[in-house]
Amino acid sequence: MSTDVATTTLGIDHRKLGMWTFLGSEFLFFGAFVSAYLLYLDTTAGGPGVEIFDIPFTSISSFVLLMSSLTMVLAHHAHTKGDMRRMRMWILATAGQGAVFLGGQVFEFNVFFREGLELSTSPFASSFYVLTGFHGLHVFVGILLLSSLYVLSLTGKIKPNQDVKTEMIGLYWHFVDIIWVVIFTVVYLIPEIAVIG
């Protein structure tokens, strides 16, 4: 049987293949929101536009989020070694960095809101808040997944040989980071440079 298996499966664990498939779908989800944002870049209806962004601040929170991908890799690496103590440590670090990023987003939204950028101000405002808000929701779900991983590894539901579970959450987490790289570049950096430059 084992000789035929190669031709009738992809040789990837079901759950991992399922996660890859789902993430393929997620790319189009964010792609559609990014397109709408680009369409409405200048449609500010007299309200604030891209000049409102604070690039240094968002750069820092972006950096934190990107570094969380590193700790995620380290967590998975520790899990493949069966080192659950270290794995839990890196998982906490990853979730913590995600929380810092999310806190930054909440702060940023508050600042923009006080400066007059509300959801209902303009199509620009709607597309900005909904796009970055959905990304924030994904980060939040990621934090939920990571903390569940932490707790379940303590109770013994997730065992040292089940590194595929950490790997799957890692796939999701890296996806959320990659999408942020796109959002930060397309939503914040390029329009801001275009306005100033």
Partner: protein, 642 residues
């Protein structure tokens, strides 16, 4: 042999019963879920048919007002939503559920609980949509939900935005599930080019779902936020662009057309060879044409928008791509015709419906090509000509193919045959009623009758009125025909002739197992050496190429000793998919009425349901737990995930 009696351990109990009411509520068996999809579809089909009956009653004569405009608008909108999202798509899902594991030689899908989740989300999404009738009126802005009408509270389209999104979650989960199942769980020897065409079409359809659903989700979220939470996406007053909605909708909506038709194409690609007693003509061409339709299907959406502001360049480009997509479709039609050519045809009911599919779909396809021509399209836009066209492809096409599938696989599901006599009566009245209803709409549309109009204007003249009367008479014929079908279904389940394992002398793996299909599908997973595996086990060829029967039991899988050695690992039943999906109700109503408390309750419910799902114990330990399970390279790849 079955592992369901294994002792369970862990944090909370897990249902054990496989039969009875609890057995159905907690099932993770792909066959039961497929049957539940089918039965639910019958109910929604009756509701959608009921709505269309009122539409035809209202339009039977000019200047009639059986219904108020308000109710008429709700009925035609709900008719469209019901038939697309609650009938054709889930009926295809019923076939996917029942047949994919059987046809690829597997014991279940990759994620059995996720499969149950998909079903419950579909059922509750449908109930949620229909609950709108009692909660301030059903959506009345048509199934396309064009902004800015749909963002206005008067159209009740928030229910549409949220309801379709719940159904989208259901379909997305199913798409992930089926893609992984087909890619990863085929029986030994079943390479891609040995897969039945139905499996190929299922794979393409589920990839289309995977990439089209997120786009409609975005459009619907925007619509939801505009309608309830003050978003400005499609608000022209602040510079919002309603055409953006049209782009997003049709970027989903056109692949959706193929999502509805490809499963039916797969079904008749199985039925025609069996009843022509020949292999499918040009297997590879049919498969590649299906994949090509999947790709080009994403590049033709703007032909729905030729009368919107998209500019002449876009119109020309989309006119061309629309004509291109007729090519792979034409390839398929020729392959089906050549499959029948020179075959020993048997005209049983599944075959009749399949031939009905090919001919009716061709008519719909030809009127579709006329839409590709921009000036022609502008002339017929929003007339009954368009209504005629898409009913010929979706009713004459998809539904005929799916009904053919019901007659064809009914013996496998129930172990009984459906009555041929009633089946033929059903077919001929169905064909007559269908053409009587939708044929005249071509003409009334070209004469200028607009669609989505509650009252047939008298000024269109007596000819248009006659065509409308014919259409309404056609509905009466269809209604009677549907009753014949229902009667046939019920009486055949009760006292149909015993079918035996292989009543059609068929070609694919599902006919190897007994009818009705046993719980574990196959006692021994078959090893595949040919395309049309089962046929090659039954027949060899003589020098002249004629089929010679092979004595039964010659196959290596019939080794009796092996039956007792193989450990059969089946998924456990679970409460959690049902419990979790109930959370869509508070969540959905919260989104419709802008109530953040309800949204919070719904979200918490969904998350808690997910945790119950994660921590519930499994019968045989985790997939990766060496204490309960010794993974080998092969077993690990084919083990069923919990």
């Amino acid at each position: 042999m079955s592992s369901t009696t294994t002792e369970r351990k862990g944090y909370s109990g897990r249902p054990r019963k496989l039969d009875g009411f609890t057995g159905w509520l907690t099932t993770t068996d792909h066959k039961k879920i497929g049957i539940m999809y089918f039965l639910t579809v019958l109910v929604f089909f009756a509701l959608g048919g009921f709505e269309s009956g009122f539409i035809r009653w209202q339009l039977a004569q000019a200047e009639q007002s059986v219904l108020t405009e308000e109710i008429y608008n709700q009925f035609f909108t709900m008719h469209g939503i019901t038939m697309v999202f609650l009938v054709v798509m889930p009926l295809s899902a019923a076939f996917f559920n029942y047949l994919i594991p059987l046809m690829i030689g597997a014991r279940d899908v990759a994620f059995p609980r996720l499969n149950a989740f998909s079903y419950w989300a579909y059922l509750f999404g449908g109930l949620f949509l229909y609950s709108s009738f009692a909660l301030g009126g059903a959506p009345n802005g048509s199934w396309v939900g064009y902004a800015p009408l749909s963002t206005d509270a008067v159209s009740n389209m928030a229910f549409y935005a949220v309801g379709i999104n719940i159904l989208g979650v259901s379909s997305l989960a199913a798409a992930v599930n089926f893609i992984v199942t087909i890619l990863n769980m085929r029986a030994p020897g079943m390479t891609f080019m040995r897969m039945p065409v139905f499996i190929w079409m299922a794979l393409v359809t589920n990839f289309l779902l995977l990439f089209a659903l997120p786009i409609i989700a975005v459009a619907l979220f925007m619509l939801n936020i505009d309608a309830v939470f003050g978003g400005q996406f499609f608000e022209p007053a602040t510079g919002g662009d309603p055409v953006l909605y049209q782009h997003l909708f049709w970027l989903f909506g056109h692949p959706e057309v193929y999502i509805m038709i490809l499963p039916a194409m797969g079904i008749i690609s199985e039925i025609l060879p069996v009843n022509a007693r020949k292999p499918l003509f040009g297997y590879a061409a049919v498969v590649f044409a299906g994949a090509a339709i999947g790709f080009i299907g994403f590049g033709v959406w703007a032909h729905h928008m030729f009368t919107s502001a998209i500019g002449p360049v876009a119109r020309s480009a989309f006119a061309l791509s629309t004509m291109f997509i007729a090519v792979p479709t034409g390839i398929k039609i020729f392959n089906w015709v050549f499959t029948m050519w020179g075959g020993k045809l048997r005209f049983n009911t599944p075959m009749l419906f399949s031939i009905g599919f090919v001919s009716m779909f061709t008519i719909g396809g030809l009127s579709g090509v006329t839409h590709a021509i921009v000036p022609h399209n502008a002339q017929q836009h929003d007339t009954y000509y368009v209504v005629a066209h898409f009913h010929y492809v979706l009713f004459g096409g998809a539904l005929f193919g799916l009904i053919a599938g019901i007659y064809f696989w009914f013996p496998k599901v129930t172990g009984k045959m459906m009555s041929e006599k009633l089946g033929k009566l059903h077919f001929w009245t169905w064909l007559l009623g269908f053409n009587l209803t939708f044929g005249p709409m071509h003409l009334s549309g070209l004469l200028g009758q607009p669609r989505r109009t509650a009252v047939l204007p008298g000024e269109l003249g007596a000819t248009v009125e006659l065509y409308n009367l014919l259409s309404s008479l056609g509905f009466v014929v269809l209604f009677g025909s549907a009753l014949v079908f229902l009667y046939n279904l019920i009486t055949s389940v009760k006292r149909g002739e015993a079918a035996g394992d292989d009543p059609w002398d068929a070609r694919t793996l599902e006919w190897i197992t007994p009818s009705p299909t046993p719980y574990e599908n196959f006692h021994v997973i078959p090893t595949v050496t040919h395309r049309d595996e089962f046929w090659h086990r039954k027949y060899a060829e003589d020098e002249a190429g004629r089929a010679i029967p092979v004595p039964a039991g010659a196959s290596e899988d019939h080794d009796a000793a092996a039956d007792h050695d193989e450990h059969i690992h089946m998924p456990d039943p679970s409460y959690w998919p049902l419990v979790q999906t109930l959370g869509f109700f508070p969540f959905g109503y919260g989104l419709v009425f802008g109530n953040f408390w309800l949204i919070g309750v719904g979200l918490a419910w969904l998350v808690i349901g997910l945790y119950g799902w994660i921590i519930e114990p499994v019968a045989e330990g985790d997939d990766d737990d060496p204490e309960d399970h010794t993974p080998t390279s092969g077993a690990r790849a084919t083990a069923t995930a919990h």
